[in-house]
């Protein structure tokens, strides 16, 4: 029962992007198309699950004083693997995401889950926590990028949905990222207030 709880909390109640406002850097930078958002979300989730498992397993032997460097080393190893895998199997996505794949190393959600959850809990709950947070972040990325892609490029996952002259290019430029994320955050707060 509590395992399901660990999983679902990451999706709405503690959604990393909309409720904790973590990981905003990739959320602003790569959400120009649903494909990028989804790709980033999946890569992120894979790293998060692996790092949560590793850190949770080693939580009793990691010295407390140097735990942050240890986390970073662990996360960096997994990011390197994902980076190589994506380079080999999804070259187009790899080029589109560019520097933001290696930058998963310093993603504050992964470091945050390591510190706040995996370091204090057994392996199985840590996996569910990572899954929940990963799915929550992926959904958030897809939502942001769907808004931006539809308004800014007139397509959804590459499929045209708006007439050719309609899309406002601004929405896939950096300002569009800030505007979309701001509006969605405000909307989420409003919804949260209503349900609370």
């Amino acid at each position: 029962m509590s395992l399901i709880n660990e999983f679902t909390k990451g999706i709405i109640k503690e959604n990393p992007l909309f409720r904790l406002v973590l990981g905003t850097c990739p959320s602003l930078a790569i959400t120009t198309s649903v494909e990028n958002g989804l790709g980033m979300g999946v890569a992120f989730t894979a790293v998060l699950i692996a790092s949560n498992i590793a850190i949770s397993t080693m939580r009793s032997i990691i010295p407390d004083n140097v735990r942050i460097p240890v986390y970073v080393v662990i996360i960096a190893s997994f990011v390197t693997m994902i980076d190589q895998l994506m380079h080999a199997f999804t070259p187009a996505l790899y080029t589109a995401l560019g520097i933001f794949i290696p930058l998963i190393v310093v993603n504050c959600i992964i470091l945050g889950r390591a510190e706040a959850f995996a370091n204090k809990n057994p392996v199985i709950p840590s996996i569910f926590d990572a899954l929940g947070m990963g799915v929550g972040f992926t959904l958030a990325l897809v939502l942001v990028s769907a808004c931006r892609e539809v308004l800014g490029a007139g397509t959804f996952y590459g499929i045209p949905v708006l007439p050719e002259s309609a899309p406002a290019i601004l929405m896939i430029l950096p300002p569009g990222g800030f505007i979309t994320l701001g509006c969605l955050l405000g909307l989420m707060n409003k919804l949260q207030k209503k349900t609370a």
Partner: protein, 318 residues
């Protein structure tokens, strides 16, 4: 005298009553915009009328909807009409009507109400609308046409920037407004008339347009002298593009310009400097909109550093 049965209400001082109110001021701005409106309609005819109507109507509707949704008291919807009108004045006359409406809605919803509504916005809403349109629809926003006959042509500043060899319009044409450009900015004389009215009514401070235009004039005179163009050059830059409209109606926006006198001087000089930089060195032919938006950003900072000292107080370390 009064038939009302209300008891006499005694409030604490001040009791001074002034006819100045937001609706009154907005009405005066609307009056001041009339000459440019007439000039724009005369030169660009039906397309301009459609763009203006769509901007004003959508700004007004967006304002009403925002006030309703955010449950705010209706204060001066007139300001939305002015925002819509100013936006229409700085877009090309042949802009598709739905784009104009979209820019207008963006101005009101994003740049005004999401920042807290009238009096709270950091940026001039009309200019944000223009910046949004220019970034979103670069082709439609830079397709200019000649007044009266609507033949596609470059703006005077565009001709100067691209050096395409097309003949530059004379200063007289620029002054009257029979050149290609945005709906409300081509006619220098019409905008000047409106600006003079606002100055006369005391709604705007001469310091901002004065220092703004002065800076552009002096710097352009120097640039002209270096290029060997003579005195014609600074006058050309003064009356071409949206400089007068920006200096009198947009840089002086009460909300987004400094409140201190010294601050206004700094603000005007900053705007002028940026316009000259963008026009001479930047990638765009015209830089009035961006120069004002950039100075909007530093307005709180300017206000803070030019705050006057309380009489008898010690100099504060800001």
């Amino acid at each position: 005298m009064t038939t009302s049965n209300d008891l006499l209400v005694v409030t604490s001082s001040p009791h001074v009553h002034s006819p100045d109110s937001v609706p009154n001021a907005m009405r005066d701005v609307l009056i001041a915009l009339c000459p440019a409106l007439i000039a724009g309609l005369y030169f660009f005819r039906l397309p301009a009328l459609l763009v203006i109507l769509s901007c004003v109507a959508s700004a007004y509707i967006a304002e009403i909807v925002c006030l309703k949704v955010m449950k705010k008291a209706p204060t001066g919807e007139g300001s939305a009409i002015i925002t819509g009108l100013l936006l229409a004045f700085c877009v090309p006359p042949h802009l598709p009507v739905w784009m104009a409406a979209l820019g207008s809605i963006f101005s009101i919803v994003i740049a005004k109400h999401l920042f807290g509504g009238l009096g709270q916005n950091i940026f001039n809403p009309a200019l944000i609308g223009r910046a949004f349109l220019l970034a979103s629809f670069p082709v439609a926003m830079t397709s200019w046409s000649r007044p009266l006959d609507g033949v596609t042509t470059a703006t005077p500043l565009g001709i100067m920037k691209e050096a395409t060899g097309q003949a530059l319009p004379s200063l007289g044409e620029l002054f009257l407004g029979s050149v290609s450009g945005s709906i409300g900015e081509t006619s220098a004389i019409a905008v000047l008339l409106g600006g003079a009215y606002l100055l006369y009514r005391g709604h705007i401070d001469w310091r901002i347009p004065g220092t703004f235009l002065g800076t552009v004039f002096v710097l352009m005179a120097i640039a002209g002298a270096i290029k060997g163009q003579g005195l014609w050059y600074p006058f050309f830059h003064l009356s071409a593009g949206g400089l007068f409209l920006g200096a009198f109606f947009m840089a002086t926006d009460w909300v987004t310009s400094p409140v201190t006198k010294r601050g206004r001087v700094l603000f005007g000089i900053g705007c002028g400097l940026l316009v000259v930089l963008i026009r001479l060195k930047g990638g765009y032919p015209e830089g009035v909109a961006y120069s004002i938006l950039l100075m909007n950003v530093v307005t709180p900072l300017i206000d803070r550093y030019t705050r006057s000292r309380v009489f008898g107080g010690v100099k504060s370390h800001a």
